[in-house]
Amino acid sequence: MDFPEELKYTEEHEWILVEDDIATVGITDFAQDQLGDVVFVELPEVGDNVEAGETFGVVESVKAVSDVYAPVSGEVIEINEDLLDEPETINNSPYDAGWMVKIKLSAPELLEGLMDVSSYQEFVEKD
């Protein structure tokens, strides 16, 4: 299983890539593997404000519905519309083509609560 070094992670199995004040968010390789074939993705709208810890989207496989939680607070400035037509991209490329939303951070200090790659790996192994 693949967990890129440069990303931050949450206990709900989202990944976050922060560049300046923009966070790109998706679900991890572990999360997509647990879900199985992703068949439906629901995303927020551009301009929506999301709060850290609240759900902002849904990923569904044949067997399961999984909420996706915002790891950070801010305004949604871009969504990955390709996922609406090709949800399986999340299985095939969870960290690249399978990104879900870009959020303009309103409170960059909240990034403190996120896990780095080694903590996340440990967390997944315990899970």
Binding site: G36, D37, F40, E42, V62
Partner: protein, 362 residues
């Protein structure tokens, strides 16, 4: 948790295991969609050893089954299988099952795993204090492993392992014979809508039968199939699943099972209640729905008509063949028979759903 004789095989194949009604069962191996497609285009092998088997024998076996079952057992000949159900006096369903006639005085019932003990007690209860004295009921569930080999090339695969003439086993018939040197009941039945077989063998031989089938099936594209694809396969064909389309609260006629409910038959358990409900006019009816936009309907989701909640989805999924959301739902009969638009509530959305003729997939 209960385990089938093939539990170690599933673990070696790195299947994802789930608790299915108290059984430790594989939900998927390679992935639900790939497995589903393998069964539709080639073949799949399912471990269905969790299913229960109850033997009914003795001089009164026929009369007893005619009393306990909704379908007409008198139409069966030796070597034939019948899809049938047992009802409570209320007309609600105890279980749906397949009934095998070995001889006029010997039958085997294949029942749902999670209902197996309940069904056996139910049958014992019907016998107790009745005139059915010359009758032996035996719960043989632990003695059998059961594998389902399903798909367009199932016959080709099975013919490599048996000298039994499979062409002579017609749909919903069975034969007893050797498969890979194992004494097996070869039944031309299934739950996928494809050609194929359900194979019953001694529990101790289950692993060997699986391995022999997998090894001859590999060149034909045979794949192991989990419960995830078992559900999408049966739902595309509109087959009922106990606990969803049929329950103790739903009568067979409300679930499109009039064809196995022979109301003209002499006295069966639940018959009076069902006839009464039919004469009064059925209040509810099952309908098949296809979503008009993307989304995945699931069991328990509400069905709306003119802004009101009128019923619920009993089973729903994303059809891997149609790439659309499909659902069976139960709604008032007046709404089922009307052409008023229906909507399925998915979280905070209401998605327009079209009435569809079953099966969803031909």
């Amino acid at each position: 948790m209960k385990a089938t004789p093939l539990n170690q095989i599933h673990r070696q194949l790195d299947a994802r295991m789930v608790d299915f009604g108290g059984w430790d069962m594989p939900v998927q191996y390679s992935g639900v969609i790939a497995e589903h497609q393998a069964v539709r285009s080639a073949a799949g092998l399912f471990d269905v050893s969790h299913m229960g088997e109850i033997e009914v024998s003795g001089p009164q076996a026929f009369d007893f089954l005619q009393y306990a079952m909704t379908n007409d057992v008198s139409t069966l000949v030796d070597g034939q299988v019948q899809y049938t159900a047992m009802c409570y006096e209320t007309g609600g369903v105890v279980d749906d099952l397949t009934l095998y006639r070995f001889a006029a005085d010997r039958y085997l019932l294949c029942v749902n795993a999670s209902n197996s003990d309940k069904d056996f007690s139910w049958l014992q209860g019907l016998q107790k204090g009745s005139d059915f004295i010359d009758l032996i009921l035996v719960n043989r569930s632990p003695e059998y492993a059961q594998l389902a080999l399903q798909g367009p090339v199932a016959t080709k695969i099975l013919s490599k392992l048996t000298t039994v003439n499979l062409a002579e086993i017609k749909f919903y018939h069975f034969a007893e014979g050797d498969v890979a040197g194992i004494q097996t009941i070869i039944s031309r039945t299934g739950y996928t809508g494809e050609d194929g077989f359900e194979l019953y063998c001694p529990a101790t031989e289950g692993v060997k039968l699986w391995q022999e089938l997998m090894s001859v099936g590999l060149p034909f594209g045979l794949k192991p199939i989990g419960l995830g694809a078992r559900d999408t396969l049966r739902l595309e064909k509109g087959y009922a699943l106990y606990g969803h389309e049929i329950t103790a609260e739903i009568m067979p006629l409300e679930a499109r099972l009039a064809w196995i409910t022979k109301l003209k038959k002499r006295n069966f358990v639940g018959q009076a209640a069902i006839i009464k409900a039919k004469q009064a006019g059925l209040l509810r009816k099952q309908i098949a729905l296809t979503l008009t936009t993307s989304g995945v309907p699931r069991a328990g989701y509400p069905v709306f008509c003119q802004g009101e909640k009128v019923g619920h989805v009993t089973s729903g999924t994303l059809s891997p063949s149609l790439k659309k959301g499909i659902a069976l739902a139960i709604v008032p009969a007046t709404i089922a028979d009307s052409d008023q638009p229906l909507y399925i509530g998915i979280r905070n959305h209401r998605i327009l759903a079209e009435r569809t003729v079953l099966p969803f997939v031909q």
